[in-house]
C-alpha cells in the first residue's frame, strides 16, 4: 500500500500552522468560498450525505443525515461543536485545534451554512488552554478578515462563533449534557425525544458535531464525495453507511512511540501498534488494548488484527470504534488493575441522575477496589456481570451512553479474562473467596 498522504494533518508540521496566513497559503478557506458562491445549503447537505461522512465523536452517526433532520423552516438553528474530548487517551481534537484551528473553523463555517445556523458554540474542555487560545486567535483573525460576522464575502451569510470552556466533566461531552452545560446548567443529559435537532440549545434546533467530523468537511467540498469514499472500508450492506475517509488514530500506553496518526479508516490495531506506535515497549509482548477510548471495551492480543473501522470492533465484542484512540497494555498489566481503573473512571464521571448508572458504576468500582485489595469473592464477579448487563441505553435502562461505556469494560474483561480474575481472587483471598454473604464493608473501601 502506498504511503497515505495526510489530509487533516497536512499542515501541522509547518511553522505557525495555526495562523490564517499559513492556512491560506495552503489553499485554506477556498472551500467556504466555493460553498458560499456556488452551492445552496441543501446542496451542501447532499454533498456531505453523499460522502457518507460519519461522526468522529464516538457514535459514528452519518453527518449529512444528522444535518437533514433539522426542521426546514426553523428561524434559529445553533451549531454546537463538541471539543470536550474527554474520552481517556483521546487527543486528536486537541491536535486539530492547536495546530490547525482554521481548518476546524472552515469546517464549522460550512456546517453552519449547510444547516442555516448563524451562531456556533465551540465547547472546549478547560484542560485545553492552548487549544482555547489558538481557537480564540483564529476566530479573531477571521473576524478581521471578514470570514466571520455579517454578510460574509458578500454572500448574505452571517455567522458568529463563540468559545465556551467546560469545567472538567466527561459527561459534558455527551451531546445533551453539553447543551445543558452550555446553557449554564448542570450537565445532566436530557431525555430524548425531543432530539437536539428539534429542540436543543436554548430550546432551538441544534446540531452537535465533533471537531474532527467538521474538519473533514472542507476537504469533501474541495475534492468531492467520491474522493472521500475512495478511502476506507466500503459498506457491506445497504443499512451500513460504511467507514470512509481519513481518521485520526491516537496510540498510547505501552508502545515505544505514542502518537496520533492519520490513516484511512480500517487499519488494524496491530498495524497501528507495530508500524506507528513503534511496537510494544521494553521488548515486551502486548496483552490487550483498548480499541477506541475506555468505553469501547477491550481487545485481547489475539484480536489485534481487528480492523478499526466503524464495524470492526463490534465483531469481537467491543462496543464500537469510539474515538479510535488505542491504549496498549503489555503483558505485565493485571486485568484487575485495568478493570479497577475503568470502573473508577465511570463511577467518578457518572452524572448521577439515572439510578442504574449512578449505582451500577459506583457498586462496580467498590467491588473492584475490594477485589484489588485482596478481599474479593467469586460472587463479586457474578454481581459485576449482572451490573454490566443492567446498565445502558442499549437495554434501555439509562438516559445516555455513559452507562454503556461503563458496561463494556466489565463485559469484555469478564468475557475475555475471567480466568485471570478468578485466579487473582482465589490467590489473594484464599480463605474467603467462596464467601456468599453480603460483606460488612470496610470503611476505608466504602468510597474512593
Amino acid at each position: 500500500m502506498a504511503e497515505f498522504e495526510p489530509v487533516l494533518l497536512a499542515n501541522i508540521h509547518k511553522p505557525d500552522s495555526h495562523t490564517l496566513s499559513v492556512y491560506r497559503a495552503a489553499g485554506g478557506y477556498a472551500a467556504i468560498k466555493k460553498v458560499l458562491s456556488t452551492m445552496s445549503p441543501v446542496d451542501t447537505v447532499e454533498l456531505v450525505k453523499a460522502s457518507n461522512l460519519r461522526g468522529r465523536g464516538g457514535a459514528g452517526f452519518p453527518c449529512g443525515l444528522k444535518w437533514s433532520f433539522l426542521p426546514k423552516d426553523a428561524p434559529t438553528v445553533y451549531m454546537c461543536v463538541n471539543a470536550d474530548e474527554s474520552e481517556p487517551a483521546t487527543f486528536n481534537n486537541r491536535i486539530l485545534m492547536e495546530l490547525d484551528p482554521h481548518q476546524v473553523l472552515e469546517g464549522i463555517m460550512i456546517g453552519c451554512y449547510a444547516t442555516r445556523a448563524q451562531t456556533a458554540y465551540i465547547y472546549v474542555r478547560c484542560e485545553y488552554p492552548t487549544a482555547y487560545k489558538r481557537l480564540h486567535q483564529a476566530i479573531q483573525e477571521c473576524y478581521g478578515a471578514g470570514l466571520l460576522g455579517q454578510n460574509i464575502n458578500g454572500s448574505g451569510f452571517n455567522l458568529d462563533i463563540y468559545l465556551h470552556r467546560g469545567a472538567a466533566a466527561y459527561i459534558c461531552g455527551e451531546e445533551t449534557g453539553l447543551i445543558e452545560s452550555l446553557e449554564g446548567k448542570r450537565a445532566w443529559p436530557r431525555i430524548k425525544p425531543p432530539f437536539p435537532a428539534i429542540e436543543g440549545a436554548f430550546r432551538k434546533p441544534t446540531v452537535v458535531n465533533n471537531i474532527e467530523t467538521l474538519a473533514n468537511v472542507p476537504h469533501i467540498v474541495n475534492r468531492g464525495a467520491d474522493w472521500f469514499k475512495s478511502m476506507g472500508v466500503p459498506s457491506t450492506n445497504p443499512k451500513d453507511p460504511g467507514s470512509y475517509g481519513p481518521k485520526l488514530y491516537c496510540i498510547s500506553g505501552h508502545v515505544n512511540t505514542p502518537c496520533c496518526v492519520e490513516l484511512p479508516l480500517g487499519v488494524t490495531c496491530r498495524e497501528l501498534i507495530e508500524r506507528h506506535g513503534g511496537g510494544v515497549w521494553k521488548g515486551r509482548k502486548g496483552k490487550m488494548a483498548i480499541p477506541g477510548g475506555m468505553s469501547m471495551g477491550l481487545l485481547t492480543e489475539k484480536e489485534f488484527d481487528t480492523p478499526l473501522d466503524f464495524a470492526g470492533p463490534g465483531k469481537v465484542g467491543c462496543l464500537g470504534l469510539g474515538t479510535a484512540a488505542v491504549t496498549v497494555m503489555d503483558e505485565t498489566v493485571s486485568i484487575v488493575d485495568y478493570l479497577n481503573n475503568a470502573c473508577r473512571f465511570f463511577a467518578h464521571e457518572s452524572c448521577g441522575q439515572c439510578t442504574p448508572c449512578r449505582e451500577g458504576t459506583s457498586w462496580s468500582s467498590r467491588l473492584m477496589t475490594r477485589i484489588l485489595s485482596g478481599k474479593g469473592r467469586l460472587k463479586d464477579l457474578e454481581i459485576l456481570q449482572s451490573i454490566s448487563q443492567s446498565i445502558g441505553i442499549m437495554p434501555g435502562t439509562t438516559i445516555c451512553g455513559l452507562a454503556d461505556g461503563a458496561a463494556w469494560p466489565l463485559k469484555n474483561a469478564l468475557g475475555k479474562f475471567r480466568g485471570e480474575l478468578e485466579e487473582y481472587i482465589k490467590k489473594t483471598n484464599p480463605g474467603g473467596y467462596q464467601q456468599e454473604e453480603p460483606a460488612m464493608a470496610l470503611v476505608e473501601l466504602a468510597h474512593h
Binding site: A169, I171, R186, W188, I191, A347, H348, E349, S350, C351, G352, Q353, C354, T355, P356, R358, E359, G360, T361, S362, W363, R366, K379, I383, S386, S390, I393, M394, P395, G396, T397, T398, I399, P438, A439, M440, A441, V443, A446, H447
Partner: protein
C-alpha cells in the same frame, strides 16, 4: 377513544386525555412503580423505576410489535394501539436492580425514619425488590441537616429523584434547592446562606418519596401509621386549599395538601400547613361567660341559649329589627351561616345581616406554577355574602355596620368570629361599647369579647363539619378531625339550638336544606364531592379515582393506608 393494552387487558381512554403509560396502566388496575415522575412537575425519567416494555398493536391485523428496549412509562405517551407489558422478566429485573442500587448507600434506618410507613422505597421493596441482599451492608450513617426553617435533609436516604429540586424551580420558583457533586456522591443542598425559605417550602417534604426530606416540625412527633386522615379545607386564605389533617388521639400532628385541580393542585402554602397553633392555644375560649355586676360569671349551655335570645331578641323587639346587627363571620361554614341567618330573620324579618370583617393582608402572591396565596385571609367570604344577600333586607358589610353603630342606628349586635389571628383592636372594639347589647361568639379572647355582655365559645374548622366557598366560587366540604375544644360548642350546634331545633347538628342535612332554599347553593343537593363544586361557573374537574386511588394523581399525602406491611398484624381484616 384510544385503546391501550396493559398486560393483556384492553382499556379505553378518551381521545383528549393526555396520559402517560403510568396513568393508563393505573386505569387498567396495574400499578407501575415510580419515583421521579410527579404529575405536577416536568418529566425527567431519571429514576428508571418505571421502565416497562412497550409496543404497538396493528389495528387491522391485531399483530403486536414490541420495542426491544425498556422504556420509561412516565415518558411514554399512551396512544391508540399502545401495548404495555409491566410484568415480564426483563421489567422485573430492572425493578430489582433499581431497588438494589438505591439501597447500596441507603442507611435503612427505618426504625427511626419519619417516612417509615409511608415510604415508597419500603413499599416498593416488598413488591419489587430482591429476595436477598447482594450488596455490602454499610455502617449505619444518617446525617441530618437543616435546609430551611421547615425542611430537614437526611442526605443518605435520598434516592436522587430530583422532585424537590424541580419543585423549587418549577412551582415555587425560587430555586433554592440544587444537586451538588456527581455520581453516587451527588446530594441535595442549598447555597450557603440561601436556605429554602419560600412560602411553599413544606411541599418538598411531601413530594420526597423517602425519608430524605422531613418536615422539621413533624420530625419524631408521631409514627404515621397511628395517624388518621380527615379531609379538610384550609381556612388561612380564600384559595381554600384542599387538605388532609392527620390526627391521633385528638391531637393534630400535621396538615398536608390533598389533590384538587380546582383549587390547589398538589400544593399548599406554609402558613396553612404550619400556622395552626391557635387550635391548641391555651387561651382558647372554653365556656360561656356572662357579665353580671361587672364580673364574668360562667353559664351552662342551655341557659346560654336562652340568654342569647334575651340579649339579641330584646333589641330587635324593642327597637325594630334593623336596629339589631347579626354578624356572619367569613370563618363560618355555609351551613352555619345559613342557620344563623335563618335564626336572625326568625326574630324579625328585617334584622340587619352583616358580612363579618374580611381580613386582608398585603397582596395576592402568585407563584411560578400559578399557585396563589391570597391576600384575603378567610375561607368563606363568598358563601357568607350569598347567604346575607339572600336573607338580609339591607345587607351590610363590616364598615357599613360600624358607621351605623356610630350613628346609633344599630343598638345591639351578635358578632361571630372564629379568626385564628388577632382581628380587632381596642380602638375598633371601643365603638361597640355603647351598644345596649353585645353577644360575641369566637374562639379566642379579643378586645371585642372583653366588651361583650355574653361570650360564647365557638370552634375552628378542624373541629367541625362544614363547607366553604373559595375566592373562585368553589365550594368544598371539610370534616371534623378534632373534638371541640373543652367547653366549646360547634357553632352550627349553637345556631341550631337557637333555632329551637332538636338533636345534634348535622352539616350534611343542613347543606341539603340550604341547597333547596338558596338558589346559589342549588348544586349541593347531593353533597359536595372531594374536588368541590364551582357554584359560579357550574363547571369543575373531577379527577378519576381508580382502585389505586391516588396513583394517577399521587397526592403527596398519606400512603400509610397502603402500608400493607402493617395490615398483616391486624387479624380482623
Amino acid at each position: 377513544m384510544a385503546t391501550i393494552t396493559v398486560d393483556g387487558k384492553e382499556i379505553e381512554i378518551g381521545d383528549n386525555e393526555r396520559l402517560n403509560v403510568i396513568q393508563a396502566a393505573d386505569r387498567a388496575g396495574v400499578s407501575i412503580p415510580f419515583y421521579c415522575w410527579h404529575p405536577g412537575l416536568s418529566v425527567v425519567a431519571s429514576c428508571r423505576m418505571c421502565l416497562v416494555e412497550t409496543g404497538t398493536k396493528n389495528k387491522e391485523t391485531g399483530e403486536i410489535s414490541m420495542v426491544p428496549k425498556l422504556v420509561p412509562a412516565c415518558q411514554t405517551p399512551a396512544k391508540d394501539g399502545t401495548v404495555v407489558v409491566t410484568n415480564s422478566p426483563k421489567v422485573k429485573a430492572n425493578q430489582n436492580f433499581v431497588q438494589e442500587g438505591i439501597l447500596l448507600d441507603h442507611p435503612v434506618d427505618c426504625p427511626i425514619c419519619d417516612q417509615a410507613g409511608e415510604c415508597w422505597l419500603q413499599d416498593y421493596y416488598f413488591e419489587f425488590g430482591h429476595q436477598e441482599r447482594r450488596a455490602d451492608i454499610h455502617p449505619f450513617t444518617s446525617k441530618r441537616r437543616e435546609l430551611g426553617p421547615h425542611v430537614s435533609l437526611f442526605a443518605d436516604r435520598c434516592v436522587m429523584c430530583s422532585r424537590c429540586v424541580r419543585f423549587t424551580r418549577e412551582v415555587s420558583g425560587e430555586g433554592e434547592l440544587m444537586v451538588i457533586d456527581r455520581g453516587s456522591h451527588a446530594e441535595i443542598d442549598v447555597f450557603p446562606g440561601f436556605p429554602i425559605d419560600n412560602k411553599m417550602s413544606g411541599n418538598v417534604n411531601d413530594i420526597c418519596p423517602v425519608g430524605a426530606l422531613c418536615s422539621t416540625d413533624f420530625l419524631y412527633e408521631q409514627r404515621v401509621w397511628f395517624l388518621e386522615a380527615q379531609n379538610s379545607v384550609c381556612t388561612k386564605c380564600s384559595t381554600g386549599c384542599a387538605t388532609q389533617m392527620h390526627v391521633n388521639q385528638n391531637q393534630l400532628y400535621r396538615i398536608q395538601p390533598r389533590f384538587n385541580p380546582n383549587a390547589n393542585d398538589w400544593w399548599m402554602c406554609d402558613a396553612g400547613r404550619y400556622e395552626n397553633q391557635f387550635v391548641t392555644a391555651p387561651e382558647r375560649l372554653d365556656g360561656v361567660v356572662i357579665r353580671r355586676n361587672n364580673a364574668w360569671e360562667p353559664l351552662d349551655w342551655p341557659h346560654a341559649i336562652r340568654e342569647v335570645y334575651n340579649h339579641v331578641a330584646d333589641v330587635a323587639l324593642n327597637h325594630g329589627g334593623s336596629h339589631l346587627a347579626v354578624v356572619l363571620s367569613p370563618f363560618l361554614s355555609c351551613e352555619e351561616a345559613y342557620l344563623l341567618a335563618s335564626y336572625a330573620v326568625s326574630i324579625l324579618s328585617d334584622v340587619t345581616l352583616v358580612v363579618g370583617k374580611i381580613p386582608v393582608v398585603g397582596h395576592d402572591e402568585k407563584f411560578k406554577s400559578g399557585f396563589t396565596i391570597r391576600a384575603e385571609k378567610c375561607p368563606n367570604r363568598r358563601g357568607v355574602e350569598e347567604i346575607v344577600k339572600h336573607f338580609g333586607k339591607q345587607p351590610l358589610d363590616w364598615d357599613g355596620m360600624l358607621a351605623k353603630i356610630a350613628t346609633g342606628e344599630i343598638k345591639g349586635a351578635y358578632v361571630t368570629g372564629g379568626y385564628g389571628d388577632p382581628w380587632i383592636d381596642d380602638a375598633e372594639a371601643a365603638k361597640f361599647e355603647h351598644l345596649e347589647s353585645l353577644v360575641v361568639q369566637d374562639i379566642l379572647p379579643s378586645p371585642l369579647a372583653r366588651r361583650a355582655k355574653l361570650v360564647l365559645p365557638g370552634v375552628t374548622a378542624f373541629e367541625k363539619d362544614g363547607s366553604y366557598v373559595n375566592h373562585a366560587g368553589l365550594i368544598q366540604s371539610a370534616s371534623w378531625g378534632l373534638r371541640p375544644h373543652g367547653g366549646a360548642h360547634v357553632d352550627g350546634q349553637t345556631f341550631s339550638d337557637l333555632l329551637g331545633r332538636r338533636g345534634i347538628y348535622n352539616a350534611a342535612d343542613v347543606l341539603k336544606e340550604l341547597a333547596a332554599k338558596v338558589p346559589f347553593f342549588a348544586r349541593c343537593t347531593d353533597g359536595v364531592p372531594p374536588a368541590g363544586l364551582n357554584l359560579v361557573t357550574g363547571q369543575e374537574k373531577h379527577p378519576l379515582t381508580t382502585e389505586l386511588g391516588t396513583v394517577t394523581h399521587p397526592t403527596p399525602t398519606f400512603r400509610s393506608e397502603g402500608s400493607r406491611m402493617l395490615e398483616v398484624e391486624t387479624p380482623t381484616r
